[in-house]
Amino acid sequence: MTEMQTVDYLVAGASHAALSALEAIRMHDPAGSVAVLAREDHLPYSPTVLPYVVSGRSKPETVALKPAAYFAQNNIAILAGRALTRVDAATKRVHFANGEAMAYGKLLLATGAAPIVPPIPGLGEVKFHVLRTLADATRLHAALPKARAAVVLGAGLIGMHAAENLAKTGASVTVVEMQAQVLPGYFDAAASQIIASVFAANGVRLRLGSRVEKLAASSQGCTLTLADGSCIDADLLLVATGVAPVIDYLEGSGIATERGILVDDSMRTSVADIYAAGDVAQARGFYGGKPLVGGILPDAVEQGRIAGMAMAGDPATPAYPGSVPLNSYAFFGQQALSVGSQSEGELACQVTDAGTNQYLKIVMRDNRLTGIFGINRPFDPGIMWQLILRRTDLGAVRDQFIANPRETARQLMSQLWR
């Protein structure tokens, strides 16, 4: 038996949280040994780019977030094709599917999330696509030209992106969503209505508030039966009904989990020397309440950075301020932005212009911004995020902010954290 490999820092996962952690570790500890476990045999990439690989806008060979040279220069080993099967905290070892094991000093779990496949009768018997890996995206990209009648289950970001791309290839597209609106969680009913109308104008049929009762294989692909009894034939089916943290390998590890891996404000799990960040982590929500699985890319970067700093013992490690919902969404040449909470606070302003597809909503509590949402109404979401995190008192500029949020927020930025 060969000697077991041991590294000072072991990072399981290879996307934004993992890369951000690697940067932070190397910033403080240039010498410690570091290894990254990549599930796939590919340089680290972002799951967020996958819809664009589907559309062909991104090429699989150019999506790597860092070139191989980066890892060589920083003396970081990439171990490809390693999926965790078990974590043994007592001996500080992780085990892989191929039977190998590895010992760690500090371990970061950044294993992300995987698609949820809903328990619909018949789904197991038909061919369908999901979108989690680069291979999934390449497969779906190859299937696009042949699709004539496509059905997307779920009107979240992945589903809506895919529906747009399918529509652009000329296929007839139907989106089936259980909730009464598209993009629930990021946009309210009024904003969702504008987004839905743009999709409808581009020929995408939206079956909102609909549930799929059962599926059956057909000659072209499959037939879906909805709760209202109507049937839809599909030659391409994409299941995009949400994702869930990948934590199956943690059984017996003693690491506390709920939906995701529970972490404190330094991204530490309940077990010593094990950290978690990104879509797999369940961390403090900014507005209080129960810890939540954010699934937000900029948040994954933030959490990864904090985890990396804490793992390396960087004395400047900040406390995680909590997850703020954030989203940017471009569709059919329109831009939608969502920063903060719809419900934490009182409505300060809401403007809807369905004719020009414009929408703006501002939510405040005690003259402090808690949420701002816009369609085709430009503002700087990064500045708004800071205003929320800093709980900046907007009392003196409230009217000005509501009248012109972008300009006013930029002035505050320049005055407060230039």
Binding site: S46, P47, V49, S58, V63, L326, Y329, P378, Q386, R410
Partner: protein, 444 residues
């Protein structure tokens, strides 16, 4: 890791003319200031700025899912790759400065690219509110050169002179014999201690009186041997302007090929802060105390660089660590001139201990000295005469500089008025000398 050139904004100088925005938009093919990548906002009490900071640890890059943004390690800008961008706008979520925004006209996000190192906005600003700071160049050029002094020299906390020593020798290089007469420089251990040397090149410790004479002999010896070696002095203002002056004057008059650098901290700071002939009027020192009979120094300082100019040396200049690009350019020219004749460089060195100000303020004090014209930066060659290398037209009030230092705390209004009057005369004289058409200094 490199240091980079950067666009700096001084809001107090901005008058809201928006020429920078017009220039930026036009460079990027638009006549609408909304398309400018630099945005000036008028507020109640001045102007504010939103533009890309070209962050060292850029969030826009970290959150980009398509690797379409990357920091250019060569020039430091964050570069946008249109062939990779997917238009998701996540970069605008990551950026806390409004530095990258979706541009409807372009149909994608846009950001400042510093116009490939020649920013149009800066050129359009005639108020000095926008400047393109290129001093990072120095650190890139000399950062890899070896520091020729050992670590752990025993200078005071925040010592400017230690910076001068290290920067100077790094640039001049080890093919040098350095003379450093009694003062802070040898006192800090530069010449050695306990049988060990404090430098990585030949250094010796002449008397206060004979620095330039000894260097004369050393330089002539090497010339006779056919070796090109820099003979150089790092002397305090006492060793330069008081008892050291006769040998200095003699060597300058003979045109010895020497590089003589005076590190002027306006007194004998090493031995207990006694006054020298470079101590300014009104300054407290331990020999010009403040009390019943004395209110600081009662004479004006000797203007040594002007005296050296009158020797018609191959090169004479004043410099300050507050303006490193200027200092480095003068080091190069002085070094070059010392191969032909006598080169004299007078570097002002604010002294945290002797002038009594907090140790972290040294560079700020050095800058204020220049910005108030208490110190003027100029250079002289026999051919081109005097040239102001960093003219200060809208000088800040001298009081701002005087207030930074404990040694001036006792000044009466009359004393301040005296200092201001002398400063005015000095400024007028140097400016007159620097005017085009002024006859050059001429040896008799």
């Amino acid at each position: 890791m490199s240091a980079y050139s950067t666009i700096a904004f001084k809001p107090e100088r901005c008058n809201g003319c928006n020429e920078c925005m017009t220039a930026c938009a036009s460079t990027k093919g638009s006549s609408d200031n909304a398309d400018s990548r630099i945005q000036i906002m008028a507020c109640e009490d001045g102007y504010e700025l939103a533009m890309c900071r070209q962050c060292a640890d850029p969030k826009c890059v970290a959150v980009c899912p398509a690797a379409a943004l990357a920091k250019d390690e060569g020039v430091g800008t964050i570069a946008w790759d249109g062939s990779k961008c997917v238009g998701c706008l996540l970069c605008t979520v990551g950026c806390a400065y409004g530095g990258i925004v979706h541009n409807a006209r372009a149909g994608h996000v846009v950001k400042c690219d510093t116009c490939d190192g020649d920013p149009a906005c800066v050129k359009a600003c005639d108020q000095g509110a926008l400047r393109f700071i290129t001093s990072a160049r120095i650190y890139n050029e000399v950062g890899d050169l070896e520091d020729l002094f050992v670590p752990g020299l025993a200078a005071c906390q925040g010592c400017n002179t230690e910076l001068i020593m290290r920067h100077t020798m790094r640039r001049i290089g080890p093919n040098t014999v350095l003379a450093t007469p009694p003062g802070c420089i040898p006192g800090s251990g530069a010449v050695g201690y306990n049988g060990l040397t404090g430098s990585k090149f030949p250094v010796f410790h002449p008397l206060l009186t004979n620095t330039a004479s000894m260097l004369t002999g050393i330089k002539r010896h090497y010339k006779r041997q056919g070796r090109e070696v820099t003979a150089m002095a790092l002397a305090g203002d006492g060793g330069t302007s008081d008892v050291g002056f006769q040998s200095l004057s003699g060597a300058a008059e003979r045109g010895e090929e020497i590089l003589f650098i005076c590190v002027d901290n306006e007194g004998y700071m090493n031995t207990g802060m006694q006054r020298s002939s470079c101590t300014p009027y009104g300054a407290w020192t331990s020999t010009t105390p403040v009390g019943e009979h004395s209110q600081g120094k009662s004479q004006d300082a000797k203007n040594v660089p002007l005296l050296m100019m009158m020797h018609n040396c191959a090169y004479v200049a004043t410099a300050s660590t507050g303006f490193m690009e200027d200092l480095y350019a003068k080091l190069d020219r002085a070094h070059e001139a010392s191969k032909r004749g006598f080169a004299y460089l007078h570097i002002y060195s604010p002294c945290t201990t002797g002038w009594r100000f907090p140790s972290q303020d040294n560079i700020a004090v050095a800058r204020l000295a220049v910005e108030t014209n208490a110190v003027m930066l100029w250079e002289f060659t026999p051919d081109s005469g005097v040239r102001l290398t960093r003219p200060v037209d809208n000088a800040r009030p001298l009081s701002e500089y005087l207030e930074t230092q404990g040694k001036y705390r006792h000044l009466s209004p009359e004393q301040t008025a005296h200092i201001e009057a002398m400063l005015e005369k000095n400024v007028a004289m140097i400016k007159k000398l620097a005017e085009p058409g002024t006859p050059p200094v001429c040896a008799r």
